[in-house]
């Protein structure tokens, strides 16, 4: 039993719904009590869809439990098939139905329906939403393609050359309630087209059963959303010999690597690596002098596996940030995230407890948070700017405008959306240059809401910087630190928005030196110490 106040992922059957709702002509019969129908609103309100997800809930009640729930399941299956006439049927159960063990999948399979029926086992007491989506996609693809397995040796990803056609690939994994999938698909299509690569099928977003049946016609697969696509891509590789890409094209480096990887899978010549510079603004914007202020900005990253990994790479290599925290709630992706964190000299935070994420964030004292909507709220409490990079979905993450994360345009979107929450460079420079103006040194309130709450007037030695931060653990040591009047005066000359950090560093330095008093000299000593 685990106490949860808020959760990053829904139950696995919500993952199954994401697959069904992403596709055309697939219906899902879910053995579940009435309350579980809340899941519809994830699609009609959060994703702002204009139709209900194609799900029939059996909505059994307590009084049904003493009777024939099996008959109830069959009745709903029959009605759903008659009414919606789907091309394929998914049958599964939610947590409550799992306990009463009606085995709706087996029941439906025994009804002699003339359409493919895929029975889903979605262990609700051990698995979660992304797992459910991945499992459903895998079962559906396997169920529909099993009979046409040619054996892996037949497949040649370069066969397009002999056949005198363009190479073609499948895009696997984009789904509803996935972060910016709608626009990522468009962007990747565009990117591949520019390289003469055709898209054979996109699955599951917008796919029909016939698209799934056409999957084996592609030369290779693009595993676009590993959380959802990996088991499916693995299976297609094992049974159809289709190789798949491992790089998720989010960011300049990753998009370049992705193109390289795909070209080599397809036996194409490696594309010009300077393409990024020509196609995306991120490299130049990051290199322009205005971005100097981004140097070494401390960022804390938390999200689903692939977006967290991508964010870490972009932050470190493409924007010149310093990553001071990296983590994910996707346990399935724990290994690569741990490895990436280790490369950055960090220990990855693998948890689905948002409170421990908030605590880690406070501890790392970043200048920017890249997280989920929950981290946005936590960051707000801590007075730290934040950009959202990952699911769980919020209505804000389904913007009306075109806002992909992948490919060249995705990199542009990322540059803007990460950098805007920070004070802009030119602005920051001006403030830096004019920092001796009374406006900045005299505890002037700022119109910048969160920064304006900084602890300008607090006595020395209480806590660190902006409102709500964790108290400095070092402050609990028995050493009583005293700021002399001259020390305090010097401290006040420092602009309010960095004063907290300087104060903390100086106190830390003073403790190391065994000092009890901090005067202006100590402050300058500390400054020299930390500048190395």
């Amino acid at each position: 039993m685990d106490l949860t106040l808020w959760t990053y992922e829904g139950p696995p059957h919500v993952g199954a719904m994401r697959i069904a709702a992403s596709m055309e002509g697939v219906h899902f019969v879910l053995h579940a009590p009435q309350g579980d129908t809340y899941a519809d609103l994830l699609f009609t309100m959060i994703e702002r869809r204009d139709r209900r997800p194609p799900v029939t809930y059996t909505t059994f009640q307590a009084r049904d439990l003493s009777g024939d729930t099996a008959e109830l399941v069959k009745r709903h299956v029959r009605e759903a098939v008659d009414r919606f006439q789907p091309d394929a049927l998914l049958v599964g159960e939610s947590c409550t139905a799992e306990l009463i063990q009606d085995q709706p999948g087996a029941l439906a399979a025994g009804m002699g329906l003339e359409l493919p029926v895929v029975s889903l086992e979605l262990p609700a007491y051990s698995k979660k939403e992304n797992w459910g989506a991945a499992e459903t996609l895998y079962q559906l693809v396997r169920g529909l393609l099993q009979h046409q397995r040619p054996g892996p040796t037949d497949h040649d990803p370069c066969a397009w050359r002999q056949q005198e056609r363009r190479p073609r690939v499948n895009l696997i994994g984009p789904s509803l309630l996935g972060f910016r999938c709608r626009d990522d698909v468009l962007e990747i299509r565009r990117l591949l087209e520019a390289h003469g690569i055709e898209v054979n099928a996109v699955v599951p977003l917008g796919a029909r059963v016939t698209d799934v049946e056409r999957l084996p016609l592609a030369d290779a697969n693009v595993c676009l959303v590993p959380e959802v696509a990996e088991p499916c891509c693995n299976w297609l590789e094992r049974h159809f010999g289709q190789p798949f890409t491992r790089t998720v094209p989010i960011g300049i480096g990753a998009t370049t690597d992705f193109l390289k990887e795909l070209h080599s899978l397809l036996g194409l010549e490696t594309p010009d690596p300077r393409e990024a510079q020509r196609q995306s603004r991120l490299p130049w914007y990051a290199a322009s002098v205005d971005s100097t202020y981004l140097t070494g900005k401390r960022v804390f990253i938390f999200g689903d596996g692939s977006h967290a990994l991508a964010a870490a790479r972009i932050a470190q290599q493409e924007l010149g940030f310093r990553v001071v925290g990296l983590g994910t709630y996707s346990r399935e992706m724990a290994r690569p995230v741990r490895a990436a964190a280790k490369d950055l000299g960090l220990e990855a935070l693998i948890t689905d407890d948002y409170l421990s994420v908030e605590a880690a964030m406070a501890d790392a004292a970043p200048e920017l948070v890249l997280g989920t909507q929950m981290e946005r709220h936590s960051a707000k409490r801590l007075g730290i700017p934040c950009a959202v990079i990952s699911t769980p979905m919020h209505v804000q993450d389904v913007p009306a405008r075109y806002a992909p994360q992948m490919g060249w345009e995705g990199a542009n979107v990322i540059f803007d959306s990460w950098v805007h929450p920070l004070m802009m460079g030119l602005e920051e420079h001006l403030i830096g240059m004019f920092r001796h103006d009374f406006e900045f040194v005299d505890d002037q309130p700022s119109h910048l809401g969160h920064l304006g709450r900084a602890d300008t007037a607090k006595p020395a030695g209480t806590d660190l910087d902006a409102a709500g931060s964790e108290p400095d653990p070092a402050a609990n040591l028995n050493v009583e630190l005293q700021w002399t009047r001259d020390g305090e005066a010097e401290l006040k000359k420092i602009p309010f928005f960095v004063r907290g950090k300087v104060k903390r560093n100086t106190e830390c330095f003073a403790r190391q030196q065994g000092k009890h008093q901090i005067d202006s000299e100590t402050l300058y000593d500390a400054k020299a110490h930390f500048s190395t």
Binding site: T4, L65, H377
Partner: protein, 412 residues
């Protein structure tokens, strides 16, 4: 009385009783609602509440895991552990509601026993009560009924005369209603649930109660068993219903008619004025209320009688004839009332009738909007201060706004 009542059974599209937590935790900030259930239950309240904005919510879920399912004895121990951890973290909590869910009921996890045990070991520091909000037994608003019914045994016994308002009200509305009752001469007016879970009103033979919400059947039965007397009236929605509701109490107190009139007439006149612009927009418009919050019948009565709307169909998750008696009397006899639900057939009828407005749950609204039908979320009605004569205009505005909006948009 009702000539056009039909029952329907089939797939439903209604929240379960857990959803009530979303407003109950706001009403009683010193209470914590611990759902004993699954990840689905946790996800439901999170999604229904749209709660990403809280610092420390006053509800949470003890998520059952495979291990708990394997050994029920351990599940009781686990529950103790989770409850203790929680209370340690949240020392300000005074009442802990253990809320049963479908999974906990199917595995027959005895929450009453758990509550008893925790009560004994916490010896009065925190009161622990339990109820079920499970979707196999309760819909949406019935959760409030369960929570309040669970509190009734803890109410002190006192026979002093008092008017008890039963059902969650917005603070401002509550204050206003109490003022009005006192103006008419009913001195002691109390509310249940109270604003603090530790501030429970007494109950006894002097208690006469008005239900503020129509879905409180268990609570009202239990209060009656404790000696309270139920004052029968329509529900306080709209100027007319609210007036009848207040008058019923005043008459039960033997207040003189002139005083009643002197107090309520000006309110009624003002409400008519406030209603007028909305009435003009709503008059003759056709509405369907899909079964959801159990407020459908009183709302239909208000929309028909005070706003002139035409009732195409009024759904209700279940029909409690006794508690709805006064409402049914006020509805046109041939109103099509549908108890239960077959959501697909119901939507077929909606499409066919193409009403001007549909009141429905959050999952159905956008699909209907996409078909060109204006909608109103029923959950909004549970959250908004809509009770009382003074709120009649605001209540009507909730229904006229979607129509105004539809009229305001033009893309040609």
């Amino acid at each position: 009385m009702l000539t056009n009542l039909r029952k329907e059974s089939g797939p439903r599209e209604v929240f379960c009783g857990l959803t009530s937590i979303v407003w109950l935790h706001r009403r009683m900030p010193d209470a914590f609602f611990l759902v004993v259930g699954s990840r689905t239950c946790a996800h439901l309240i999170q999604s229904a509440a749209g709660v990403m904005i809280f610092a420390e919510p006053r509800f949470g879920t003890a998520i059952l895991s495979e291990r708990d399912l394997a050994g029920l004895a351990d599940a009781q121990e686990e529950l103790d552990r989770v409850a203790r951890d929680l209370l340690q973290r949240r020392p300000e909590i005074r009442t802990l509601f253990l809320v049963g869910s479908c999974p906990s009921e199917v595995i027959k996890l005895d929450l009453a026993r758990a509550a008893e045990r925790l009560n004994a070991s916490l010896s009065g520091r925190v009161r622990v009560v339990n109820y079920s909000g499970s979707g196999i037994e309760t819909t949406f608003t019935q959760g409030e009924d369960g929570a309040l019914a669970a509190l009734v045994p803890t109410l002190p016994a006192r026979d002093e005369p008092q008017l008890l308002l039963v059902g969650t009200l917005a603070h401002a509305v509550e204050d206003r209603l109490i003022t009005l009752f006192q103006r008419m001469g009913i001195e002691t007016v109390r509310s249940f649930p109270p604003r603090l879970s530790t501030d429970c009103p007494p109950v006894g033979r002097g208690t006469r109660m008005l239900l503020c919400q129509p879905y409180l059947s268990d609570t009202s039965r239990q209060l009656q068993a404790r000696g309270a007397e139920l004052i029968r009236a329509p529900y306080p929605l709209g100027a007319e219903g609210s007036r009848l509701w207040m008058e019923a109490a005043a008459r039960a107190w033997g207040i003189d008619e002139p005083i009643i009139h002197a107090t309520l007439d000006p309110l009624s006149a003002r409400a008519r004025q406030a209603l007028e612009p909305h009435r003009q927009r709503l008059q003759g418009k056709r509405i369907v209320l899909l079964p959801d919050s159990q407020l459908e019948l009183p709302l239909a009565r208000f929309l028909h009688r005070e706003c002139g709307m035409e009732l195409v169909e009024v759904g209700t998750p279940y029909l409690h004839r006794d508690l709805m008696e006064e409402e049914l009397k006020l509805l046109p006899a041939d109103t099509r009332v549908v108890e239960g639900q077959h959501v697909e057939q119901q939507l077929d009828r909606v499409r066919q009738a193409h009403p001007d407005l549909v009141v429905c749950g959050m999952g159905l609204a956008n699909p209907l909007e996409a078909e060109g039908i204006a909608t109103k979320w029923s959950i909004e009605l549970v959250f908004s201060p809509i009770h009382g004569i003074d709120q009649a205009g605001d209540l009507a505005e909730l229904f006229s706004r979607p129509l105004v909006r539809h009229g305001a948009l033009a893309f040609a």
